[in-house]
């Protein structure tokens, strides 16, 4: 079974979707991602959909869901690299993805995340977590 990798990069989680998402895969991504956020205490999620060329209402809803769930777990979501055709489709479907931050490319998405997240909070927590790790060892 295919899986979409979720990469951890400091306080952020990075997801690049490089295949066309079918429903099962999207649902798995949703649960995996939420799991990963709660486990790592990530402050931001960046989803790169620059190679996704087909979306339907279900996909739109999944992205919206991920954003709302992350928000509850205190993480911001940024969707980057949406193709024009995809954007038009989502608007025509009546899914303006309110609550999701968007950016043109990964670089700007990371900048946006950094500006949204108060990193000093994270550093403190991170150190705590790290010391916890050490104490486990």
């Amino acid at each position: 079974m295919e899986k979409i990798p979720i990469l951890r990069m400091g306080p952020f989680l990075l997801v690049t979707i490089q295949v066309d998402l079918y429903d099962r895969l999207a649902l798995n991504l949703e649960s995996d991602l939420i799991e990963a956020i709660s486990k790592s205490g990530a402050k931001g999620v960046l989803i790169d959909i620059s190679v996704v060329s087909i979306v339907d209402s279900f996909m739109g809803r999944i992205i919206g869901n991920i954003a709302s769930m992350s928000k509850i777990l205190d993480a911001e979501t940024v969707v980057v690299g949406m193709q024009p055709a995809v954007a038009i489709t989502l608007i025509e479907l009546g899914l303006p993805l309110t609550g999701v931050h968007t950016a043109l490319n990964v670089e700007r998405g990371m900048n946006l995340l950094r500006s949204k997240v108060n990193l000093s909070d994270y550093d403190a927590e991170q150190e705590e977590a790290d010391t916890d790790d050490y104490s486990d060892n």
Partner: protein, 297 residues
């Protein structure tokens, strides 16, 4: 020629057609005279020689097609060639910018020419002349209808082509600054144009990786709820792409209309003019435009 008994009418019709065929050159000359004489003829649009060629072609085809059987049967498929030739001429004239009067005069000139010839031939038999003229008139009435239909069709083609051209040239996307796009919209916004505007804008955003797009609607004559919805769609799509969209150039009467219609634009950034929108864009991108201070030597 002696007057013919009425039971010989069939015989007579052959005579009419033969007579017309025999005097083809005469008809053509008369027709040309009619066209040049009667119409407020515009020599700039088409040369006399071209008209003569078209007329001769149509006349030849018509006389070749005419026979005693189809003279009364106007729906006959034998007229297809004539109608095709006539349509071609009519459409070409519509495209050249002839007036309907001039185009109508083209076909009615031929009728007059044919009637003149018939009158000369049948001056002694009024009943035959009446019968022949009735048939010719019917025939030419149907030709006139074809002429007008195709003329209007030609005009409509011109109009739809112009509409396409207008919508193509009136949606340019301009890069006013590094990272700032401007899109001045001129003319009415309908669904089809919004689609073009949106596609062009989004493509340009990807291409130039701009983060702000300014939609200037100072050239939009009226905004109703549909147009407002289109604008909001464009703004939302731009936002999905990860860029910000600013609407500028809202004229006071349009602002009034929008509020009276109860359209909520509160989640859209609006600026009074393109200059204000540009200023806002500079602020967002943390750019600064400064007057040069004169250097003290």
């Amino acid at each position: 020629m002696l007057s013919l008994p009425s039971n010989l009418h069939i015989q007579m019709e052959i005579n009419i057609i033969d007579a017309l065929k025999a005097s083809q050159q005469l008809i053509l000359e008369k027709w040309m005279d009619n066209q040049v004489g009667l119409q407020s003829f515009n020599g700039d649009l088409i040369s006399n020689q071209e008209i003569e060629e078209q007329s001769a072609e149509l006349l030849t085809i018509l006389l070749k097609t005419l026979n005693e059987n189809n003279l009364e049967d106007l729906g006959s498929s034998e007229y297809d060639e004539v109608i095709e030739c006539l349509s071609e001429i009519s459409v070409s004239r519509a495209k050249l910018g002839f007036s309907p009067k001039e185009t109508g005069g083209f076909i009615s000139g031929l009728r007059t020419a044919i009637m003149d010839v018939l009158e000369a031939k049948l001056s002694e038999d009024l009943a035959a002349l009446y019968a022949a003229s009735k048939k010719i008139n019917n025939l030419f009435d149907s030709f006139s209808i074809v002429t007008f239909e195709t003329f209007i069709h030609g005009r409509e083609e011109v109009i739809s082509r112009q509409t396409d051209e207008i919508s193509e040239i009136s949606t340019p996307v301009i890069q006013v600054w590094d990272g700032i796009l401007a899109l001045p919209i001129i003319g009415t916004l309908d669904s089809a144009r919004t689609q073009i505007v949106m596609e062009n804008l989004l493509e340009a955003i990807v291409e130039t990786s701009s983060s702000i797009a300014i939609l200037d609607i100072s050239g939009v004559p009226a905004v109703d709820s549909l147009v407002a919805q289109h604008l909001m769609k464009t703004v939302a799509a731009t936002r999905l792409m990860g860029a910000e969209c600013v609407i500028s150039g809202i004229r006071p009467e349009i602002a009034q209309t929008i509020v009276h219609l109860g359209i909520d634009l509160s989640n859209i950034i609006t600026k009074a003019s393109l200059a204000h929108a540009l200023k806002f864009s500079f602020q967002t991108l943390k750019l600064e435009v400064k007057r040069q201070t004169p250097r003290v030597i």
